[in-house]
């Protein structure tokens, strides 16, 4: 298999997981209740674990002697390949739930396909991750419904959060040459093929939550090619500081 797209493909998976984990990690000690504190720490841990598996494999594929930490902490923003959606700030709890729900519901479908990847290593990682993500998604969907169908205030906040983040969902279903390579090699699904099942799933959940699905309008894109929003730079400055400040140290 071709090294370059293979490496890029793995980076995208790893970066989505890591950036999600970082955002969830920011929330630990700030949750609305103690049970949720535990859940957030647990989900952040899942994400970091997934990132480590994808990065370690990516580094092996690359064959340049880099490791998971070098990929996480020593790449510039322009080299990060995560979706714009996952880097969006936590905002209020509705905003966090909206971001996680919209992302996880696509990620879950993607991982499910990846369990059947022609790349055995990816299939193994996906088999493990898909269970974690299924649980996260169930939990997040439940909050979407509780908040949507809770009080007037929670309904309004939840609707606003979905509306605000909708413009970042289109990017999840646009295939580029890396995705086409993955589809051609049976490494992973074509993102375009995920859109219909995602739509059904999201539509059904929004309905149950008494929320309105936003109109598909203009969509922001660029994360997969390193064109991010202004939020990622701050996230990286904080996350990468130690490795940048003490180059080469072991921890």
């Amino acid at each position: 298999m071709s090294t370059k797209p293979h490496f890029e493909y793995l980076l995208r998976l790893g970066d989505n997981a890591l950036v999600s984990g970082q955002r969830l990690g920011e929330l630990v000690t700030r949750a609305p209740e103690l049970e949720e504190e535990m859940a957030l720490a647990n989900f952040a841990l899942d994400c970091v674990g997934q990132a480590r598996m994808f990065y370690t494999y990516a580094a092996e594929i690359e064959g340049q002697g880099r490791d998971e930490d070098q990929l996480a902490f020593l790449r510039d923003q322009i080299d990060f390949r995560n979706l714009l959606l996952v880097e969006q700030p936590n905002g209020d709890f509705a905003c966090t739930i909206a971001r996680q729900f919209l992302f996880l519901s696509a990620y879950q479908i993607q991982l499910d396909e990846l369990t059947r990847s022609s790349d055995k290593r990816i299939a193994e990682i996906a088999a493990r991750a898909v269970k974690e993500v299924a649980y996260q998604l169930r939990h997040t969907r439940q909050w979407l419904i509780r908040l949507g169908d809770g009080t007037d205030e929670s309904h309004d906040r939840m609707q606003k959060a979905i509306d605000d983040l909708w413009r970042f969902t289109g990017e999840m279903f646009i295939a580029d040459e890396i995705d086409e390579w993955a589809a051609a090699e049976n490494v992973g699904p074509n993102p375009a093929a995920l859109q219909a099942p995602w739509n059904d799933f999201v539509q059904q959940a929004l309905q149950e939550a008494t929320l309105t699905r936003p109109q598909d309008a203009w969509m922001d894109t660029g994360g997969k090619h390193g064109r991010h929003t202004e939020h990622l730079g701050y996230l990286l400055a904080e996350m990468q500081y130690m490795q940048r400040a003490y180059p080469g140290a072991a921890w």
């Binding site: 984990g21 609305p32 535990m38 720490a41 970091v48 908040l147 996350m239 140290a249 921890w251």
Partner: protein
């Protein structure tokens, strides 16, 4: 009075007291106070460690730290449940924490300033906590004793991980060694204070001993901790910040310098470096979550009504 005698006999016979059993009101109160303080300490204890989740220096360390903080939330939950078996609600306990009425371990009012503090907290703070908590696994009150078994198992895991962080740093570059020593300098004395004042000066001690809630004196536990920690510091190549520290061959113990109890009482009274920050963070999270909890209640009520209909 007869019940009181019978109760004491059961306790003396090392039988566990269970929630539905009769118990003296003072026993119940003492346990509520102690278990809830312990629960609050787990919750507030998440803050100094949570402070480094986003900045952990490697993915492995980030994962370990997240797991640890998750465990602490879990400990908080068990302990609140154990307290609830004594007839107090979690809402009441939360209210007591947020109003400043309830205490939590003063150690968490010290800041985590560098990554080495995460190591020092694991090594020393969890280490001291374990010394305090292992005897509690045999506490006369059943639900507390059982919660402590699980807590202690995880704490000792955390303690080893903390020591491992210190070991990496002390085997690292000059900046890492400096970080490690600086952390030890700042955490050593507060860790010794965790055992509380000498028993002579400590309220509640004698009665707690009789009720087998407490099994060792504060000074005994503190000495045990010092004896365990000094060789560990030597192994790390770090210097314990105590000029009076020396091995007493005859006693078989390390003798250590005088503790600044004024600092202890200051921090206890609210005058520690982070008292305000810790409580404010908890209040803020609670206040920001009010609409979420309300929504969850409203949704549950709607669901119940739908089922009833």
């Amino acid at each position: 009075a007869a019940r009181m005698v019978a109760f004491q006999q059961r306790v003396d016979a090392e039988e566990k007291v269970e929630p539905k059993d009769w118990m003296p009101e003072a026993y119940r109160k003492t346990l509520i106070r102690q278990i809830s303080q312990h629960a609050h300490s787990e919750i507030v204890g998440m803050l100094p460690e949570g402070n480094w989740i986003t900045r952990a220096p490697s993915l492995r360390r980030k994962a370990i730290l997240l797991a640890k903080v998750q465990d602490e939330a879990g400990h908080g939950l068990y302990l609140y449940s154990a307290a609830e078996t004594l007839g107090v609600s979690r809402d009441e306990l939360t209210e007591q924490l947020l109003s400043g009425k309830a205490k939590y371990s003063s150690i968490f009012n010290y800041p985590t300033l560098t990554w080495a503090d995460i190591g020092a907290v694991g090594w020393l703070v969890d280490g001291a906590a374990i010394m305090n908590q292992i005897p509690l696994c045999r506490c006369s009150y059943g639900p507390y004793a059982r919660a402590m078994v699980k807590v202690c198992k995880e704490e000792s895991f955390h303690q080893r991980q903390g020591f491992e962080i210190m070991l990496s740093l002390s085997r690292g570059n000059a900046e890492q060694k400096r970080m490690a020593q600086d952390a030890l300098n700042r955490w050593w004395w507060p860790a010794l204070m965790m055992f509380g004042p000498s028993d002579a000066d400590s309220e509640h001690s004698a009665q707690s001993m009789a009720w087998k809630i407490k099994r060792f004196s504060n000074d005994e536990l503190r000495q045990k901790f010092v004896d365990a920690s000094v060789p560990q510091a030597e192994h790390l190549g770090l210097r314990i910040p105590d000029d009076d520290l020396q091995w007493d061959e005859e006693a078989g113990h390390y003798r250590f310098g005088e503790i600044n109890w004024q600092e202890f009482f200051d921090v206890l009274a609210g005058n520690g470096p982070c008292n305000r920050e810790r409580l404010n963070r908890r209040k803020e999270a609670h206040a920001n979550g009010a609409w979420v909890r309300e929504a969850a209640r409203a949704y549950a009520a709607k669901q119940a009504a739908r089922k009833a209909a």
